[in-house]
Assembly symmetry: C2
Homo-oligomer: 194 residues x 2
């Protein structure tokens, strides 16, 4: 029942073809040098079809980055019952940062960093992710923190990801920033473990 139907398959194929074509062209010629009409023509679809699959030109680049959102929230909800929050988040951010500083991803992220529009779009996207994370934190019954505290920690975690990606030593930066986040988080407890 999830994927029965030729219709959904064709739709998914169209979407994928658009995304693949776009990414290829962007990397070949540069993001700014490729127009929406170019992508649509090369993928052999109408411009309106392209925009029925993707909300904007920038969204073509971050095609499957709602997995980012899911991974963060799942790091909170799916952690072992006794595992403390912050280390779980740190582990996930480590993995996310490694994933996007890996070999194959380098050209993609160089392109992103080279385009103000893409940087701006990504930041705004991360903020939405932070809101999701904040909601996941607020929903955890083991965490009696205020909504403000949850939203704050969520943003701090997003900050850690963004800053670590730009740092000279991303791994070390994650650890350094998470020490700060840990301290911030503990400051919201009335000292629970003591």
């Amino acid at each position: 029942m999830p994927t029965t139907g030729r219709r959904e398959r064709k739709k998914a194929a169209t979407r994928q073809k658009i995304a693949d074509t776009a990414l290829r062209l962007f990397l070949e010629r540069g993001y700014d040098a490729v127009g929406i009409r170019d992508v649509a023509a090369e993928a052999d679809v109408a411009v309106t079809t392209l925009f029925s699959h993707f909300a904007s030109k920038e969204a073509l680049v971050f095609e499957q980055d709602d997995t980012f959102e899911q991974r963060l929230t799942q790091a909170v909800t799916d952690r072992a019952p006794d595992e403390p929050l912050i280390p779980a988040l740190r582990r996930e951010v480590h993995a996310l940062v490694r994933h996007c500083t890996a070999e194959g991803s380098a050209p993609l992220y160089r392109m992103i960093d080279g385009s103000p529009a893409l940087r701006e779009y990504e930041e705004s996207m991360r903020l939405r992710h932070a809101e999701s994370l904040a909601a996941a934190l607020a929903a955890d019954p083991g965490l009696p923190q205020s909504t403000t505290a949850c939203r704050t920690i969520a943003r701090f975690v997003i900050d850690a990801y963004a800053l670590a990606r730009e740092a000279a030593d991303p791994d070390a930066a994650v650890d350094e920033i998470f020490q700060m986040i840990e301290a911030a988080w503990e400051a919201t407890h009335p000292a629970q473990g003591a």
Copy 2:
């Protein structure tokens, strides 16, 4: 010698007239309902002139918000020689939040919150402010923290501003978040005051 010359005066006047006209029209009819060509016509300038003064439509709304940047950095550089960093920043953020949650600013910020484009623009602008603040922190000889720590604290401070503005009780939110920031900051010291 700062303001000699009729030329600079006329230029400043043109800029001001554009900004005033834009803000008036935006508040009267709504941001989306007013086009660039409307603003230019009402201000009696060419569209190209408008864009020689403002880089984008959104920039018309945040006309003089580099004072924001200056106030943050000056809170660091101009503080009393013995005043600790975080309380100085908290005081300034308190003032900034109060300023934009004041009576007269309400319609403006309702308009901003109502437009995704303006929200996105503001966030991106605040990130630039965070970079300035990070530079100011890194330049303070009394603060031997790493660049990563400086950039982190800078972003946390911007987060505090953004979150507090949206909170039900902005003043209390500033205090709550700054307790977390203080803890994060202390975590970067090898315990200096003990």
